[in-house]
């Protein structure tokens, strides 16, 4: 498993998390007239999840800079060259 494949898998995970959190039925749980210090929870929820997704994406894309230089090796698993 190369670091690129791991990264792709994580980003797909973030995408799926976003799909679940931003859609019915989870969304409907927060679609109520409840206020936290004056602000509706739907508002807090949407912007909170949004910020969370950005944070996760930043963490995944920001880490392991070395993995990005593997030009041409992308998506190809390394074969062992051990004797």
């Amino acid at each position: 498993m190369t670091s690129l494949a791991v990264k792709a898998r994580r980003l797909i995970g973030i995408f799926l998390l976003g799909v679940v959190l931003f859609n019915y039925p989870v969304l409907s749980l927060f679609d109520r007239e409840i206020f936290l210090s004056g602000i509706p929870i739907l508002y807090l929820y949407l912007f909170g999840v949004w910020a969370l997704l950005i944070l996760l994406t930043a963490m995944v894309t920001g880490s392991r800079r070395s993995g990005l230089r593997e030009q041409g090796m992308d998506e190809r698993s390394e074969t062992s060259t051990k004797d």
Binding site: K7, L11, F35, Y43, W50, I54, Q71, T79
Partner: protein, 906 residues
């Protein structure tokens, strides 16, 4: 008081600044010092996604429908997470094939099809022109409102103005000038415009800052923070419903469809394709942009709800459109500087979009619509023209002006009837039609040209029917009962509830039906059509773009062409100097002096085609190259054979075979190790039991015969001591090996004198030598250098080698010679014995752990079988070598070599 003159002055100042930035950006790019080559500028340029729709329209939408404006920005956030898979692939493909527009991308993927290129161009143009109109409308409306400062008057319908006194018309002209100057400065095979991108990034900063300023002013200036503002709004029954989604029938489905729609839009809008793919300097920039861009969207949306609610409360009972709150709120509070800033912010949002969009569209119109037609018109004889680059630039410039004038016309006659958001979403739905063909095209090899054409046609048709025709009915071009009753009274075909589908809003309804028709036909027809050879080739190149780094080499088209023809063709489209430079570069890179050979090989022909594709699009490039190319005798069947999936299958099965073989070898090795381990266990237990048994029996004798004589007593206890020592040695060795093996060994590096090491080792083994009466001699060459290493471990190596030699020497006749000398950059030490020697097949394996040489005559070997393998580990640590030389029957020589200076690890 805000003078009209001041407003115009500031506006022109702002436009002047944009020109200056773009000019500076281009100058820097020419000098090779790019100012846009970093992820931040890249992310900011992507924020061209936020147009006047975001700046003014979001607030309008939020005032109507609360959080319903958000999916348009949530979609891009989700798309960003996938962007690394999708966008990175699109960028890579576009760089490899020099693709410069979305139409070119689709056309190139499906066999460089001219038809598809034209279709995509037409759909994009029809879909985007209203969107451009929307920007012009925003600028025009905002200008008319701020001109009335401090009075707030909603502008009338602009159709009542004559064209030449309409601000929007002049704005359109200035924007056209900008796009012409910086979007078509010269013809370049990569089609990148650094100055333009720099200006766009600057505009993104301005619009964000302006919106923030207004948002903070409304939230904290007029009201007392979020809580206060929303609290007051919540107490008004009319606004209460804006704080939730409402939860009515279809609300969530509409929401989901809107998220999906904006995901597609952010990937496939021509302007997004332009900034994210064509203008991309470095693929690595994508990493940061993937979260910076969503962060920008989040930031620009935080204050939308406060501004919307504040506006609704403050303007309660007045006729003020919610679309203008960003501007009118500062005005009603008599903040003229802030109002002006908001006006400039709105202008930056609108102009940025218009500039990039027109440049992108004009490239498509030129490369994918006009050129293919011109090249095919025999009477123009364009294929024989000497220099076409000027013609290309002219077509593009004309394209820019045409697109802007179309946008203005649309705005003038139709645009007035719609809010900002609804026009924008109609455009989104149009570009979403590219999604199946592009996404399918880069991940699904079987996606075919006929499938793509059918899908696009169907999706486009549904879009026209469900969104465009009703809008024509609204402004009176079509009878109104077309919408209410259905065409000719067919209720099943009512454009807003096709086949009786209810519960979705207009956009959701159109998205659902168009995507169903589009994706359905694309997939269905692709599965049952037989693609042509070139489609096969392109499909493989696109889908496997990461797999085939060498795709330049694996030339599919085996055509050749005369060099002079090729050269003159390139000169015609790229200009003389650019063409010559590119050809020389190719020659240098591939080490070919093709000046000497009259025919260009297929590699050069391919290269030339890609160069041309950058300038005139892949479909036109194919036509041009085809006109001079001589195809090599390669039948279609052969091409199919090369390209067909069988090749892939063969490659995979080879890899599989290789992996299987590796696994088998590993398995053999494991089995061998297992056997050795068993053997080792029995050896060790045997070795442990022998001294233990003798200790026990002697101890028993001592215990049972207390009256044994002192001499015997002395002798027995000595045996016990010796046997215990042997036990200790054995156990130490096993532990030591374990420690080296697991990497927990502590090494102490110092300068080591090899002579001392040898004498110490000899001293330690003296007793062993004396026991078997073996003669040992050692000879050291003069001037041996010190080496860097772990002294104690090196002593241990020699002790092990000496004891090993002792083990194999005959008692009383044994001879061991130790020599040390300089060799290479290090020291070599030989330990030679005159034992039975080692068979050639054992020379290597003797250093493996648990390996013991069995011999018929000696029976079970002595020791643990770890000594030599410990030696090897130690020498390995010193970056040296250890080996054995031997002729059976004439003794063996164990040698090791260590460098004087141990190279640092790593």
């Amino acid at each position: 008081m805000l003078e009209t003159g001041t407003i115009l002055f500031v506006s022109f100042l702002y436009m002047g600044l944009l020109f200056a930035i773009a000019y500076y950006g281009d100058r820097r790019a020419d000098a090779g010092r790019s100012i846009i080559s970093n992820p931040y500028i890249y992310a900011l340029s992507m924020a061209v996604y936020c147009t006047a729709w975001t700046f003014y329209g979001s607030v309008g939408r939020a005032a109507d429908a609360g959080l319903g404006f958000l999916p348009v920005y949530i979609g891009p956030t989700l798309a960003a997470a996938l962007g690394w898979l999708v966008l990175r692939k699109i960028i890579r493909i576009s760089k490899v094939h020099r693709i410069t527009s979305i139409a070119d991308f689709v056309a190139s993927r499906y066999g460089k099809s001219t038809t598809l290129a034209a279709m995509v161009t037409v759909i994009a143009a029809l879909g985007i022109v209203p969107y451009i109109a929307l920007q012009l409308k925003a600028i025009s409306t905002s200008y008319q409102i701020i001109r009335g400062y401090p009075d707030i008057n909603m502008p009338g319908v602009s159709t009542s103005f004559p064209v030449f006194s309409d601000t929007a018309f002049y704005v359109a002209l200035i924007l056209a000038l900008f796009a012409v100057l910086f979007g078509t400065r010269h013809l370049d095979a990569t089609e990148r415009h650094e100055g333009l991108v720099a200006a766009i990034a600057f505009e993104s900063v301005v619009k964000l800052a302006a919106f923030f300023a207004v948002g903070i002013f409304v939230t904290y200036g007029i009201y007392d923070g979020f809580g206060d503002l929303i609290g007051r709004a919540a107490s008004m029954p009319a606004l209460n419903s804006r704080l939730t989604l409402g939860g009515g029938e279809g609300t969530y489905v509409n929401w989901t469809l809107a998220v999906f729609l904006s995901m597609m839009a952010v990937l496939f809008l021509p302007r997004q394709f332009q900034v994210a793919v064509v203008e991309n300097v470095n693929e690595d920039h994508l990493n940061r942009a993937l979260w910076l861009f969503p962060l920008y969207l989040l930031a620009i949306n935080i204050f939308v709800i406060p501004v919307a609610l504040g506006g609704v409360m403050i303007f309660a009972g007045q006729t003020v459109y919610a679309d203008t709150f960003v501007l009118t709120l500062p005005m009603v509070q008599h903040h003229q500087m802030l109002a002006l800033f908001a006006f400039i912010g709105g202008m930056s949002a609108a102009t940025g979009m218009v500039i990039v969009e027109t440049v992108a569209l004009s490239t498509m119109i030129c490369n994918d619509l006009v050129m293919p037609i011109l090249l095919r018109l025999p009477m123009l004889r364009l294929t024989q023209q000497s220099d076409l680059s000027a013609l290309l630039l002219t077509i593009r410039r004309a394209g820019i002006i045409l697109v802007l004038l179309l946008g203005y016309t649309y705005f003038h006659f139709i645009g007035e009837h719609y809010t900002l958001v609804s026009i924008g979403l109609v455009s989104f739905t149009a570009v979403a039609q590219f999604a199946p063909a592009i996404l399918g095209g880069i991940f699904w090899r079987a996606g075919s040209r006929s499938g793509a054409i059918a899908g696009l046609l169907a999706g486009f048709g549904v879009w026209l029917y469900t969104l465009v025709l009703p809008s024509l009915a609204d402004v009176g071009f079509l009878p109104a009962d077309f919408v209410t009753e259905g065409p000719f009274g067919f209720a099943m075909l009512k454009p807003f509830s096709l086949f009786g589908l209810q519960g979705l809003d207009r956009i959701g309804h159109a998205v659902f039906w168009s995507m169903l028709a589009n994706a359905g036909l694309y997939i269905g027809i692709s599965m049952f059509s037989r693609p042509s050879a070139i489609e096969h080739a392109q499909a493989a190149l696109f889908v496997d773009v990461f797999r085939k780094a060498e795709s330049e080499r694996s030339t599919v088209w085996r055509g050749t062409a005369p060099v002079p023809d090729l050269r003159s063709m390139l000169r015609r489209f790229l200009g003389r100097s650019q063409a010559d430079r590119a050809l020389v570069q190719y020659g240098v890179e591939h080490g070919i002096d093709w000046e000497k050979s009259p025919t260009a090989d297929s590699g050069l022909v391919n290269y030339a085609e890609k160069l041309l594709a950058g300038a005139i699009g892949s479909a036109s490039a194919r036509v041009m190259v085809g006109s001079i190319e001589k195809e090599a005798p390669l039948s279609i069947a052969e091409v199919m054979d090369i390209l067909d999936e069988t090749r892939q299958a063969i490659a995979y099965s080879r890899e599989l075979e290789k992996a299987t073989a590796e696994l088998q070898a590993a398995n053999e090795r494991l089995k061998e190790l297992d056997r050795l381990k068993d053997e080792f266990l029995s050896t060790v237990t045997h070795e442990l039991r022998t001294p233990l048994t003798s200790i026990r029996s002697i101890a028993e004798i001592l215990h049972e015969s207390p009256d044994i004589g002192p001499d015997r007593h002395q002798e027995f206890t000595q045996i016990i001591v010796r046997e215990s020592q042997r036990l200790t040695r054995l156990i130490t060795q096993v532990l030591e090996f374990q420690r080296i093996e697991s990497g927990r060994m502590d090494w102490h590096l110092s300068r080591v004198d090899i002579g001392e090491v040898i004498s110490e080792a000899v001293g330690a083994t003296r007793q062993l030598l004396e026991e078997k009466q073996i003669f040992l001699s050692s000879g050291l060459a003069d001037g041996l250098p010190e080496i860097e290493g772990d002294r104690d471990r090196l002593v241990q190596v020699l002790v092990n080698l000496i004891s090993n030699a002792v083990k194999f020497c005959e008692p009383e006749q044994g001879r061991i010679d130790i020599h040390a000398r300089k060799e290479g950059g290090g020291l070599r030490v030989d330990v030679a014995d005159n034992g039975p020697g080692i068979l050639p097949e054992d020379l290597e394996s003797i250093f493996e752990e648990f390996r013991q040489i069995r011999s018929e005559t000696r029976g079970r070997p002595q020791g643990t079988g770890l000594g030599l393998s410990i030696c090897r580990r130690i020498i390995d640590f010193h970056k040296g070598r250890i080996w054995v030389e031997s002729t059976p029957g004439q003794g063996a020589t164990f040698c090791f070599w260590v460098p004087t200076k141990r190279p640092s690890a790593g």
